[in-house]
């Protein structure tokens, strides 16, 4: 919703950035960078990888901004870049064992993700009731989805994109995105059924 409210001025910002206005480019970055970082962090579950995707995505935008012709929305164009980078990371993980997010320390297990999470729901009693066992099972199931299923699920469930837009971002049809989402939710239902 926040992204949409920027739409009216966005064309002017993009044109200014294309003409070399650095402040305009910075405004564009700030309009989208938190969603980009959230997407990368949730998908990759690694602050270092999310940081790398952030840098690479906005550098590519900067280098190629003049080839942006408004054929699609800037949001779609940016997300194409980000999702491609994230998919590359996810696919690489399929062939090499990834560093675990939970580290064993002298004080007990430490989740590296905790240090980069904003504690939005501090004090929420439901959060305390929510079993750590379920959380770890969900993380495990998310990790077992294929990169495409993971991506479609992330974009729909957490980023709130419509399937039609997801199809545009991933260069596929709405129907294919729907099938992917269907498979992802089916796998999660099967894996988490006992906990619900």
């Amino acid at each position: 919703m926040q992204v949409k409210s920027l739409h009216v001025d966005e064309t002017a910002l993009i044109r200014a950035a294309q003409a070399g206005d650095h402040a305009a480019f910075e405004q564009l970055v700030r309009a989208y960078d938190q969603s980009v970082l959230r997407l990368a962090l949730n998908l990759l579950r690694s602050p270092e990888d999310a940081h790398d995707v952030y840098q690479e995505a906005f550098l590519r935008v900067y280098r190629n901004l003049n080839s942006f012709r408004f054929d699609c929305s800037f949001h779609t164009w940016l997300y194409r870049i980000v999702t491609n980078l994230c998919l590359d990371h996810l696919r690489k993980r399929k062939v090499r064992r990834e560093e675990a997010t939970v580290l064993a320390t002298a004080e007990g297990p430490l989740d590296r993700m905790e240090s980069v999470m904003e504690q939005r729901v501090e004090g929420d009693p439901q959060r305390h009731l929510f079993s750590g066992q379920v959380r770890s099972r969900i993380k495990q199931v998310l990790g077992e989805l294929t990169p495409r299923e993971r991506m479609v699920f992330e974009l729909r469930h957490y980023q709130g994109l419509r399937l039609r837009r997801i199809g545009e971002v991933l260069g596929t049809t709405e129907e294919a995105a729907k099938n992917c989402l269907f498979r992802a939710t089916q796998k999660m239902r099967a894996a988490l059924g006992d906990f619900l």
């Binding site: 938190q34 550098l59 469930h157």
Partner: protein, 309 residues
């Protein structure tokens, strides 16, 4: 596959609001009569709620680190090449966004510009030659650029008026109306155009134009017309997205109130997405007291909590 299995396979898409109108209708009428599937829907909601709780929001420190490093890296980047005049001409003529159907017109225009330039502009393309060749001076200079030899190169618009008439189902007429619906200089023209287009709102491209106007038009009256045209499509996912945007962000309270009516209709069943939107409105400022009061009543009717926790 039994009817229950077939319905349960659709529950996730139902919660995401991604079922077609007919499918949603089928699932909901099945749910009315099937206790087991209603329980399955509750389990699906519990799954969604559990998934919500593992979402990570980046900390402000991570955002800050990323921004600082990007700024440093951009300082080392060579400045990207500015687009040349031909790129700008192509860009100026291109119809966008969601105007793919007019791209052939843009392409033809480019060809015509090239052809006319070759035929009409005397050798060297200087203005004096143009005038002496009997051509009218153009009304609008769109782009100007100094060339290395000191000459100036311009892209100019030529305007000629024509009367065009036809029926709404003729593609060129529709294309012109859709362009008029986005004319930035004339709100009255946009409002009249949308009123004409309203009667064909069952067409996806016209609905898309109405949705665009509802979300982006700066004029209250034009957005009102767009909403009128979308009244019958309150269940369409794109229309619902636009209505939620109006409910959350529109500066006009009347439009926001009307958006609640269209979004909720007669349906007071619990709807996770809708409840979230209404709760978001409840968190907005006091100046929206009437809109908030409407939201509060709908939330109560849905047996949903008034605020998020």
């Amino acid at each position: 596959m039994t009817e229950c299995e077939s319905m349960r396979a659709r529950l996730a898409l139902l919660l995401y609001g991604e079922l077609s109108f007919d499918d949603e209708e089928r699932v909901e009428s099945h749910l009315d009569s099937c206790v087991d599937c209603r329980k399955a829907l509750e389990r699906e909601r519990a799954l969604h709620a559990s998934l919500d709780r593992v979402e990570i929001t980046p900390s402000p420190s991570l955002v800050r680190e990323c921004r600082e490093e990007l700024e440093a890296r951009l300082a080392d980047e060579p400045r990207p090449m500015a687009p040349n005049w031909w790129d700008k001409l192509v860009d100026a003529i291109a119809i966008r966004p969601s105007g793919g159907f007019l791209r052939p017109v843009g392409a033809l225009t480019l060809v015509a510009v090239g052809f006319a330039a070759a035929r009409m502009i005397p050798a060297g393309g200087d203005v004096q030659g143009w005038i002496s060749a009997g051509l009218a001076l153009p009304g609008h200079v769109r782009y100007v650029e100094r060339e290395p030899d000191g000459r100036v190169q311009m892209v100019v618009d030529e305007t000629r008026q024509r009367i065009v008439s036809g029926r709404l189902d003729e593609a060129p007429i529709r294309a012109l109306l859709l362009a008029a619906a986005k004319d930035p200089g004339d709100a009255g023209l946009r409002a009249e155009t949308l009123e004409i287009l309203d009667e064909r709102a069952q067409s996806a491209e016209i609905r898309e134009a109405l949705v665009f106007a509802l979300e982006h038009d700066p004029n209250d009256g034009v957005r009102m017309k767009a909403m009128d045209g979308l009244k019958a499509f309150g269940q369409d996912p794109e229309v619902r997205g636009a209505l939620k945007y109006v409910l959350l962000s529109d500066a006009n309270r009347g439009l926001r109130t009307q958006a609640i009516d269209l979004l909720v209709g007669q349906n007071r069943a619990f709807d996770r997405d809708m409840v979230g939107t209404l709760q978001e409105v409840m968190q907005q400022g006091e100046q929206l007291s009437y809109v908030r009061e409407r939201c509060r009543r709908v939330l109560e009717a849905m047996n949903a909590s008034i605020e998020t926790y």
